[in-house]
Amino acid sequence: MKRLSILLTAVFILVLCLFGSSYAKKKPKEIILPLIIDLSGPYAPITAPAFSGFSDAAEYVNQQGGVKGVPLKPLIRDCGGRVNVAISHYMGFREMKPKPLTVFISVSAEGEALRKRIVEDNLMAMSVPGGTSIYPLANTFGLYPLYQDMFGGFMDWVVENWDFNKMGRNPRIAILTWDTTFGRAILTPEVDDYAKKKNIDIIDKVLFSIRDLDVTTQLIRIKMKKPDWVYTNIAVDGAVAIAKSAQGIRYKIKLGGNTTFDWSTIMLGGKIMDGATLVCTFKSWDDAADPGIKLITKWFKEKKRKPTERTLVYQLAWANVLTMQKVISKAVDEVGWDKLDGAAVKRQMEKLKDFSPLGLTYYSFSPRKHAPGKGYIAQIKNGKIIPISGWRELPDLRPAKHR
């Protein structure tokens, strides 16, 4: 009897070890976060701080226990704004063992080019929401609201502050933007319809090259049409080119922009950027009392990051890593480690409702809506981005056929 009990105990321990070890094998040593970022191409002034942002955020998340004890490891690749390089890096990612669950893409054109492959490879992607990278619906989610939604939010604010009776006419907006997928993202029929609905006259749509440093000619054309606002869907050097060219011809311009028109733009342009009105989707770095801003500022200082990296993209990287931690954890709860894949992560993304990583932004998605929709209005004053409204829902101006 004693021998039998010893034998049974040994068998029980053996079975336990076998099951235990097979379970442990299914839990990965680390979760790779593949990132395709333009660190050396035309968008680098905007996107390069993502490198530091992802590194710091991953370290923070790993200190908090990662995803159920499994650390996150960002794997950063520079595409230089070239889609062929992005494809090469993407191919490298998809062949990794174990296969990654997600991929982050920082440029609109690359997001669009990789869109179909991401679906075929069953990955979940987060990308800037330009052009057709988000709609038609696939596996890609927007890092912030659609550019056209932000422009809609700007139009809402213009109308709220416009006295139709006193002025006796509709407000006039001219669009001056880059001739790229990113810049032209607001030139959609839905935006035109929304402007009409809001009694706003879009009086001109003028484009310029991403490499242009002077837009005087374009501004002279716009000036003749007497707009109340000039809205631009671009950032950094492009926005500064507009402000400088306006200053050069002594044209007191009232400039509007989206969330990418941020601190990197202010650092480059200086005082001439004052007065611009922005639709922001991330907390202002200048809101020093905010707990989320306090935390990332502490990390920023501890890691001795350069002042030029104190931008939207650094915050965006934090928000992305924290979101990945949340949705991958939930996906593990749902399907376990052994069945964890991009589809499971995507399902959890579609369930996110008003998720606010460190309070920096708000992410809400659904199976029919893959771009968040909250923002606030802010103005640049003395080189700081000062909120002038609370968080609000932006109008939904995604292509009508995808609603």
């Binding site: 062929n84 390089v85 090469s88 054109a109 492959r117 075929e120 057709t132 890691k303």
Partner: protein, 351 residues
């Protein structure tokens, strides 16, 4: 041309053969076997690079004929590729043409576009012609984006279906490799032969002295436009393959910078040389991917340099290598290749 000792041409066929000796044949067969084994040997990341190199070689051969052999500078090669790529996009998306039909059609459409922009070459040359072809780089993308954005997608991406033969779909890097490489080899072979024909000699005569060439009875009108047509035809084929490889087309993929780099590939490889076009393309494309890996790696090793290092070091290293290369080997990689071959031909008894 130097021949290995004991190699004699006894017939005209031997005299004009591209592959001359048994060693050449063995090298050729081994090279082809190795090339077509690559999808089994290398990862998808490098296969994507090899496919890109294959597509670029086709385009650079075209530019080499125009610039290297005929002496007509063009800054519009990427735009001609765009013409081919969008022809493929429109024909395959809206008219459901199979790839074997879209491929020549795209080449032809780009060729015709090339002839239009080549017309100024009859009146102007040198830097002035470069400016005229620069116009192609501005006008073609503008037309693609603005004339029928409902068809081309405007600045948005146009998704292109995968190429397929029967039920075999070229939807992975490994599969499309077998579409790109045979075409690349065929184009290289055609180019090698073309430059040895009457047409090729006419091109060279025009490059060396167009007045003298005309005095000898070479029609400048015909041959200059033919050079533009061939250059753009190749670019169209390359653009078509690009769209099947990428399965998406966006006008941002065909910029002036790309045109300049195609010219750079011709120069680095060696003007007026078929192997030069291959060497130049392999060198530039590989270097491009390599320098883009330096920045993120350095950012990981030295965290305080993250981002900034990547932004600065990649282009810096790229520019520096090209600069140093052109100083020490202005005649291109093809010349260096000839020097190496000559050395080993006489080795170990060189004198």
């Amino acid at each position: 041309m130097y021949r290995p000792c004991g190699t004699f041409d006894e017939t005209y066929a031997q005299d004009i053969a591209i592959i001359r000796t048994p060693v050449h044949w063995v090298s050729f067969v081994v090279g082809i076997v190795l090339l077509f084994s690559l999808p089994l040997l290398v990862s998808g990341k490098y296969l994507a690079l090899i496919n890109l190199i294959g597509i670029s070689i086709i385009s650079v051969h075209g530019l080499s004929i125009l610039t290297g052999y005929t002496g007509q500078i063009s800054l519009g090669q990427a735009a001609f590729m765009a013409a081919g790529a969008y022809s493929t996009g429109l024909l395959s998306v809206y008219l459901k043409f199979p790839f074997w039909l879209t491929l020549p059609c795209s080449g032809l459409s780009a060729g015709i576009v090339g002839i239009i922009f080549g017309l100024p070459s009859l009146r102007i040359k040198g830097f002035y012609l470069a400016m005229a072809t620069l116009a192609a780089q501005l006008i073609i993308p503008w037309l693609i984006v603005n004339i029928r954005p409902d068809l081309t997608g405007g600045t948005n991406t146009l998704v292109v279906p995968s190429a397929k033969i029967g039920s075999f779909v070229f939807n992975s890097q490994g599969r499309i490799f077998y579409l790109i490489m045979p075409i690349m080899i065929l184009v290289t072979f055609l180019t090698r032969n073309l430059v040895r024909t009457r047409i090729g000699r006419a091109f060279t005569a025009i490059r060396d002295n167009d007045l003298a060439a005309e005095a000898m009875g070479i029609s400048l009108f015909r041959y200059k436009l033919l050079a533009f047509f061939i250059c753009s035809f190749y670019a169209g084929i390359a653009g078509s393959l690009w769209s099947y490889w990428m399965r998406a087309i966006n006008i941002d993929y065909f910029t002036l910078i790309d045109s300049i780099w195609y010219l750079g590939m011709v120069i680095v490889g060696g003007m007026g040389s078929v192997p030069g076009a291959v060497f130049g393309t392999v060198f530039i494309r590989t270097l491009d991917l390599l320098v883009k890996s330096i920045g993120p790696w350095l950012g990981t090793v030295v965290p305080s340099l993250a981002g900034v290092a990547a932004a600065a070091l990649g282009p810096l290293a790229f520019g520096l290598i090209i600069l140093v290369f052109l100083i020490f080997e202005p005649r291109g990689l093809a010349h260096r290749w000839e020097v190496i071959k000559s050395y080993f031909r006489l080795w170990p008894f060189s004198y």
